[in-house]
Amino acid sequence: MHIPDGFIDGKTAAATALLSVAGAGLALRQARRRLAPRQVPLLGLAAAFLFAAQMVNFPVAGGTSGHLVGGVLVAALLGPSAAIVVLTTVLIVQCFLFADGGVLALGANVFNMAIIGAAGGYAIYRLVCAWLPGTRGQVAAVAFAGWCSTVLASICCVGELAWSGTVAWPAGFTAMASVHMLIGIGEGLISALVFLAIRRMRPELTGEISGPAAPRQWSELVGYGLLAALGIAIFVAPFACPWPDGLESVASRLGFEHKIAHPIVRAPAPGYQMQGMRWAAGATAVAGAAGTLIVFGLALLLARSLVREPQEDNPPTKP
């Protein structure tokens, strides 16, 4: 999902850079305020861990393999601000050291994977956690949020590419969203398994850096939520609206649509093709909505099968 240079144009690069600088700046400020000095090296080590963990491939259907992105996993372990810092660090190193992801596209990549992927995924994780208490709820929340963050990040990625005119929205949306709905299952599954394994091995590590479930975490999410909403309003909303797009509505209002419309005789029915692609995009959106419910159910089932006893939360004392 790393966008290389040349795929997004100047205005998209500038807009995403502004959003990401604001998000990363907020995250750095929050992290500096909350982190104990003892935990500062943990950020760097968590970034190195995430990089190494992204090397581990897992099998996806059809012989292909995906790899962990890990935004939700790190956010569930360390909290949203630390997760944004960690993911930004990983993306900077991948960009400057390994040329994976572009320099001007760094803003877009940070926005998609750190702000939408990690902080957005963390918000979903906390919502599900608030509804389903206990270890079982946490595991289900990590699995569900991992899937959501992968799909959301891929949709933002298509929005940025479409805003730059690199890909057409309907085709790109259909391709990216459907592929990432599959990859997201792997991401959610492996995030949940890793989270549960860490929780069983070292329960104190899963308590988040800033202490468990501090109510102030919500106030810090508001800032990231505003940035994410702004980004989605810019990149995704103009394409996702069911209304005729701006150009069409302006054309019909000014009454010159027939000038554009009718001389195309030789073109192979472009209108129908467009309808077809629009229909595919709409079908993908409906499938996504249905898929969200199905994945939520699967996450619950997964948590139920992994965490058998409800009393596992408070380990039994020795007889």
Binding site: H2, G6, V40, P41, L45, A48, L104, P170, L193, V194
Partner: protein
């Protein structure tokens, strides 16, 4: 697996390019990338001259051409993929032709930018890049995190490789469920080891007067 990544950084060797100051290299690289991204598709002159400049730099930097080609090939599947989607989409719809970008332009632009980053990253040590970022007033916490990540990246990659080898020599079944379980155990063990290492690093940093 680890060789795929560690091998992507060429052994440092002395050349006229690697002796240049890092600020200069980063600046020139940034100018080339910004210029290439902003250039209109008609500006063939810019693309050709940028490519020629990069080729001269590549020769001067004494990086083996085969290494550069391998690097480009490793990173380009995504470029080819998006170019393909772009080429296959119905031409008549979506945007007016002025706003549409042809896949040739996208492929040319991203190849030039990719080559620029590969050249800069292989002739400039990462610590020098960090020093430039520090001079550019990037917040200290981010610099510390970047430096620590770069320092322990290869340590953890080697640790992951050791764990992978140990697991491969002990696991005899290839059942799907078991595979997921072992994968997640390896990753979670890696996180636990990383956080234990972070504790030791903090103690070592304190012992050396870090505050």
């Amino acid at each position: 697996m680890i060789d795929d990544w560690v091998g992507h950084l060429h052994r440092r060797r002395d050349s006229p390019i690697s002796r240049l100051p890092a600020v200069f290299k980063l600046g020139v690289g940034l100018v080339i990338i910004v210029g290439t991204v902003l250039a209109p598709p008609q500006a063939v002159g810019w693309f050709v001259s940028a490519a020629a400049f990069l080729l001269i730099t590549a020769v001067l930097s004494r990086i083996p051409p085969l290494f550069l080609l391998k690097r480009l090939a490793w990173l380009s599947p995504l470029i080819l993929g998006v170019a393909l989607v772009n080429a296959l989409q119905p031409a008549a719809n979506t945007l007016p032709s002025a706003a549409r970008v042809s896949w040739m332009t996208v492929a040319a632009k991203s190849t030039i930018c990719l080559l620029t980053i590969i050249l800069v990253s292989n002739t400039t040590p990462f610590s020098r890049i960090l020093r430039v970022l520090k001079a550019a007033r990037v917040p200290g916490l981010l610099i510390t995190t970047l430096a620590l990540m770069h320092r322990y990246l290869f340590v953890l990659l080697e640790e992951a490789e050791r764990m992978r080898r140990a697991r491969a020599s002990r696991t005899f079944t290839r059942q799907r469920g078991a595979r997921w379980q072992t994968l997640s155990t390896v990753v979670s063990q890696l996180f636990v080891r990383a956080s234990e290492r972070a504790e030791r690093i903090y103690d070592a940093m304190c012992a050396r007067g870090w505050k």
